[in-house]
């Protein structure tokens, strides 16, 4: 358990370093939902290749590190209804709010943005409420 926290902090530093690199080199805010969403609704058509390059790195690099671990299990549900409902909520929600855990959480809070803090409070609240509802009340997860 304590080892998880240490690796959490190490991974967090790497995420911070990635956000620093994208900001200082490319002049961009690292936000996963914004980078993908801008491709989908074409609002980011002036930076299509840059966005695709970022996503290519994000998709290609983690599988190369997976063999270093004994097991990498996402423990994700195999219930297609849950996957689709959750995916739709995350897709619509992050675009309405203009950011997710990386854009509002990591990049927003670190520059003391009020929007970043408000978003983080409400996605934690939404996540906590949904988890309690789905796991402890409805017992579907």
């Amino acid at each position: 358990m304590h080892q998880d926290w240490i690796w959490g902090a190490v991974g967090g530093l790497m995420i911070g370093a990635a956000a620093a690199l994208y900001l200082l080199a490319n002049g961009r805010v690292l936000g996963a939902s914004g980078i993908l969403g801008g491709l989908i609704d074409r609002s980011g058509r002036n930076s299509t290749v840059e966005r695709l390059s970022f996503l290519a790195g994000l998709i290609a690099i983690p599988p190369l590190l997976v063999p270093l671990y004994a097991v990498v299990d996402t423990h994700v549900t195999s219930n297609p209804v849950l996957l689709i409902v959750a995916g739709l909520l995350v897709g619509i929600g992050t675009r309405l709010a203009n950011g997710c855990t990386s854009g509002h959480g990591v990049c927003g809070m670190s520059r003391f943005s009020l929007r970043g803090f408000v978003a983080t409070v409400f996605y934690l609240l939404g996540g906590g409420l949904m988890l309690v509802l789905a796991r402890h009340v409805l017992e579907v997860i």
Binding site: L58, R95, S102, L125
Partner: protein, 146 residues
């Protein structure tokens, strides 16, 4: 160069998510489950990422152009509005339900099986209809004269 650095940033981001264990939905749901077997890992991940970025934003504020001579981000929206709150609540609800947010979901596409692929597909569909949802909400506001 710009695209190479975007690739490197994406790769480092994905590697960090993997090392931090954020591709493991039990860790994320364990953090949100305050009434269950609570797992504080996510706080260490967020802290590890936010603390260095506080310094980096100060460095960034002194620059007119990026290291690759690109414009630095500016004119950040400041308005705390209904869309920010409602959108974040919706995002959180989906995040809690399955334990995936956009970064880890995309980063786990290569090894997460059909489940992660289906989630990402649904997420993309959600992103595609989001502008409609936004317009619909604005229209409701106009009708109710808010």
């Amino acid at each position: 160069m710009r695209n190479l650095f975007a690739f490197l940033a994406g790769g480092l981001f994905g590697a960090g998510l993997l090392v931090a264990g954020m591709v493991d939905t039990t860790k994320v749901q364990g953090w949100l489950d305050v009434f269950g077997n609570w797992d504080p890992t996510l706080a260490f991940v967020m802290g590890g990422a936010v603390l260095p970025m506080i310094v980096v934003w100060r460095i960034a504020a002194r620059r007119e152009r990026s290291l690759l001579d690109l414009p630095m981000p500016q004119d950040f929206p400041k308005l705390v509005d209904r869309n920010l709150v409602l959108g974040s609540l919706m995002f959180g609800a989906g995040w809690g339900l399955v334990g995936l947010c956009p970064g880890p979901a995309i980063g786990a596409l290569g090894f997460g099986g059909w489940q992660v692929a289906l989630f990402v597909l649904a997420m993309c569909a959600g992103m595609a209809v989001a502008p409609l949802a936004r317009r619909g909400l604005d229209q409701l506001d106009a009708e109710n004269d808010v």
